[in-house]
Symmetry: C2
Amino acid sequence: MDTLLAQPKQTFANLPPEKRESIVRAAVAEFAEQGYQRASLNSIVRRLGISKGSLYQYFDNKEALFLHVFDHFTQQVKRQVRESMAGNSPNDFFVAARQVLLAGIAFIDNHPEYFQVYLKVLFERDVPRREELVARVRLFSLEYFGPLADLAMGQGLLRNDIPVPKVVFILDAMLDRFLQGYAQPYLDGGLALAGMSAARLHEEIDSMVAVLRTGLQPSDIGDK
Amino acid sequence: MDTLLAQPKQTFANLPPEKRESIVRAAVAEFAEQGYQRASLNSIVRRLGISKGSLYQYFDNKEALFLHVFDHFTQQVKRQVRESMAGNSPNDFFVAARQVLLAGIAFIDNHPEYFQVYLKVLFERDVPRREELVARVRLFSLEYFGPLADLAMGQGLLRNDIPVPKVVFILDAMLDRFLQGYAQPYLDGGLALAGMSAARLHEEIDSMVAVLRTGLQPSDIGDK
DNA sequence: CCATAATATGACCAGGCGGTCACATTAGGA
DNA sequence: TCCTAATGTGACCGCCTGGTCATATTATGG
């Protein structure tokens, strides 16, 4: 599960770290812009000012380079989640949701290209090991919300006419789609999420989470 | 707004309808599988058993063919919406939402490839006139929900601490993401929406709309 | 200093692309 | 029947792709 998808060749490991990073950066940029199949190794080496032969000394082929990039991506996600959750593990289901959403926003702000790579993978066919890649990312959310929802349901904090997996789906879907709108401006329904001040964005998030809370809690619990 | 994006050459118009349709079908299939840039005219003519020269007698270039396909797509959407709404114009905001969702499901069932083309356009760059194309489709939903939401808000049927555009966004986002899950199995959070019986699917839709209703209505209105 | 191993290079390959065009085939009216 | 206009065809063009490899360059350590 945590195993790496692909390891670069030894030659790559021998490189000074800043060169390794610049190579990964260039590759991420290319995959973010073009997706997997349209991404061009020629374009990547052009960006880097190195020869194609060199790139093939570092990675077996295009697929290995891509999988290495995706490994970096999941590590960054993990790090961002850990950072955003640091210290406070919320017991309230919807406070947790809010936090995940903020983590997502922070991730897109910090690594917009990585998120584009992910979106491309979602909807492109013939991406190597696509299902596995997608599953790895989606699990971050599902594995996190699942237990929390179980707990909340047990405490009677979620309406019991909707099964837990459905609750998790609704929550996850809403957050996911919000992030799509944040990353892809014409999916924000004209709200201009991307150009918003942090304060306004937090208001949008809060009102959305409030809607989810009211919608998903039992009817006999008072509104906020 | 309703004008066509591109018209084929006269030669195409002179073709017998079934040939025109088979050409569009082949093109849709290719664009659905590969997106715009990766789609191959060679592959399309191979599917059809016609020569490449012929295709260029029908359309000026790849872009014109694609835009013609997209014109067909929007027409199909329009038809599906008209059909699904036939007769009953719901006065209840959330009944309307349910109906839009059902129309979306029906559309994906009837034209899965067209929906894939749309998803590809959403997340691929360098698609000709992408923003315009996306806007055309999204407007179906936004222009429909907007006035309904205005009305509902005026009647005090929506919580007044959330502005109408935000309400429309939340509703639209949830429906949109549900359809993504229906069309792209690993986006359904394990609910297996695609393989579901119609009856079960309707239950899922109903419970989701119920959540939206409870979440979006004023707190002083009783739950359903 | 030199031998050897590690790394860097870019010309080159086969194959695919969108697009063109000279030519072959067919259709229609006189 | 025959001339003309419309339609169909596929070899070909320049360009780009992922990938290879013989060769040049650099590092290393005895």
